[in-house]
């Protein structure tokens, strides 16, 4: 029994170490993990073959990055003290903003984890501001999205996107908490009076290492199962964009300050789950999208239509429109600032 445990533990540790080492090697050896197909490679192919070639190209380079991202996401969710962080986040109002932004990336979350944390924070008295900040930052900046953005679009754009998304989310959360409709919404979540039991009602059971590793890998696998099908369908669409989307259009409309505005407009309503947005962004970058526009494009995430629809059901249209407009403004501002910062639009 003990021996079986040890073997199981070693095997699972082996998987995790494998991905970490391979990833480190790829980074050190600057082995590229993104698809290499250019428009020229794809254009000559028969229509049905384009997505296949593109997907194989992606799989050949990207499997390591994806494997690493899902594994690490699982490990983070299992081994970081998330309950402690959540308590910290729901403590004081001002500090909660900071905690929400800094800690959100390590909450690797699917929407069914996000929404309960959001309402939980409200009921716990953290206020609409920090709760909304969390709701906006977590999908944009979670560890899974971050790893893939870094690998596909490069660390400069990824870091700019992370910082900008964090600042934007705090600003938006703060602003909404000052609006009458934000306050009205917040007041619906009053705490139950008198609850001395709260601190003692959570006493987590400690699990042995092999079970914890298993939890981590299981969660990574679950995320992969949920995300990959849509991701691959998205890549099929991206392959056609890469092959047929006229370069002149991209060069004309997705560069310069005007390009930033167009990218912010497109990046939003046009629905793309974060990972597809990154791949599509890469295709557009290959076709000539400017860095500033790319940042604005990436920041369109919080106000895309399905995301807005699901938050609308919780917070109502007034808040959704408020943060939609604010997200657009912050996306444009971030794109412009990044464009000025790197010196090219």
């Amino acid at each position: 029994m003990e021996a079986r445990r040890a073997v199981k533990t070693a095997l699972m540790l082996g998987v995790i170490v494998f991905f970490v080492v391979m990833m480190a090697r790829a980074i050190i050896g600057s082995y590229t993990l993104t698809p290499q197909s250019t428009a020229e490679d794809l254009k000559g192919l028969p229509l049905w073959k384009i997505p296949i070639v593109y997907l194989l190209d992606y799989a050949g380079h990207g499997w390591l990055c994806l494997g690493f991202a899902f594994t690490i996401a699982g490990v983070f969710s299992e081994f970081l003290p998330q309950s402690f962080m959540l308590r910290f986040m729901s403590s004081g109002k001002k500090i909660s903003y900071l905690v929400a932004t800094v800690l959100a990336p390590v909450f690797c979350v699917c929407s069914c984890t996000m929404v309960p944390i959001f309402t939980g924070l409200l009921y716990a008295g953290a206020g609409i501001g920090p709760a909304l900040t969390f709701l906006l930052v977590a999908p944009a900046n979670n560890i899974l999205a971050d790893i893939i953005t870094i690998q596909v679009l490069g660390w400069r754009i990824a870091v700019a996107d992370m910082i900008a998304a964090g600042i934007a989310a705090v600003a938006i959360g703060y602003f909404v908490s000052k609006t009458p409709w934000g306050r009205e919404f917040e007041s619906r979540f009053t705490r139950n009076p008198g609850n001395p039991a709260q601190a003692t009602a959570v006493e987590l059971v400690k699990q042995p290492l092999d079970e914890r590793l298993w939890n981590a890998l299981k969660f990574g696998g679950y995320l992969a199962k949920r995300i990959l099908p849509a991701f691959f369908i998205g890549l099929v669409a991206v392959s056609y964009v890469q092959a047929f989307f006229p370069e002149e259009l991209v060069k004309a409309y997705l560069t310069g300050p005007f390009g930033v505005i167009v990218a912010a407009l497109l990046g939003g309503p046009l629905y793309t789950p974060t990972l597809i947005e990154v791949a599509l962004g890469k295709a557009l970058v290959n076709l000539g999208m400017a860095p500033g526009a790319t940042v604005a494009w990436l920041m369109g995430q919080p106000y895309d239509i399905p995301n807005s629809m699901s938050t609308y059901r919780i917070v109502g249209w007034k808040i959704v429109i408020t943060y939609g407009v604010l997200s657009f403004i912050t996306a444009v501002l971030s794109g412009l600032i990044y464009g000025i910062f790197v010196g090219t639009f």
């Binding site: 069914c112 705490r191 003692t200 009602a201 959570v202 679950y222």
Partner: protein, 88 residues
Amino acid sequence: MKLKVEVIGVNPPCPRCEQTEENAKKAAEKLRKEGFDIEVAKLDISSRDTVSRFGVIMSPAIAVNGVVKMMGKVPDPGVIERMLRKEA
């Protein structure tokens, strides 16, 4: 020996919450055959009552006799069973 198991998840349930509830029921079923008195209930994680009892927690979570024992993961039936034996 009486145990009250509460599976805390989102409503409508997501696949992970559903799996957790199923695993909890499996564990309870097995222990009932050995004479344990176990009640399994489902709680909505986003309700005011749940938050005021447990604070902000990750879904899915399992509470035994009113104390959250596991959260943010889907434990196998065997793991839940072992935990319940310990509590009993």
